[in-house]
Symmetry: C2
């Protein structure tokens, strides 16, 4: 088993998630050791939700899971990079392919591109 | 000024750093609000070093700075993505282009590619 440095940062490591075909960065999430081991054994990206304080299989509610194609580890053993196939085409809960759909331009944020889905249809009116 | 959610995570936000031409992820670092404002005003990637507990202009000792070409913000205002021109060609203190030079294969880590520079020549024998 590959041992990562979960102790250094209070048990949670940042995870950079890229589209395995285009290298577009889709999102950033966190894993604790249980999420890391679940990701390795299931090949579905599994994170630790800091807001809900529990394991979170990405796409468990929407069906838009992330199939893991490649895993990289950084030089300090404290950051994970996943290259994934994003089922449904969108990683962001706001319906965009990437969570990084806003660009800094002239001191403000410009939305780039269009949503792939309507969050209200996927998650309902009030939650995400 | 664009306001990010520095309060949510104790003042430090993760920053994903990509090569602006290839979209390869080079490293992950952290910014506090001062580092964020310095990056915006100087256009050189400036981070907060968690180990040294101070601002860190990437490349200040080696000359291998990161010229910022594009900045993206995620949907929660709590993660930054920089697309940079990495002067010197390598972002990793171990001499590799990317800090993510190791891949998970069959339960262990395989080094991908070769270093761009020898860290001993750039930083000296004992430090990085």
């Amino acid at each position: 088993m590959i041992k990562l440095d979960f102790d250094k940062t209070g048990g949670l490591l940042p995870v950079v998630v890229q589209d395995y075909e285009t290298n577009e960065v889709l999102m950033l999430a966190f894993m604790n050791e249980t999420a890391w081991e679940a990701t390795l054994s299931t090949n579905k990206a599994t994170y630790y939700s800091r807001s809900r304080k529990k394991l979170w299989v990405k796409g468990e509610s929407s069906g838009n899971v992330q199939n893991v194609k490649e895993i990289r580890i950084d030089c300090d053993d404290d950051t994970i990079l996943l290259k994934v196939e994003q089922v449904g085409g969108a990683a962001c809960h706001m319906g965009y392919k990437s969570c990084f759909f806003r660009k800094v331009e002239d001191g403000s944020l410009t939305v780039m591109g269009k949503p792939v889905f309507d969050p209200k249809e996927v998650y309902g009116e009030t939650s995400h």
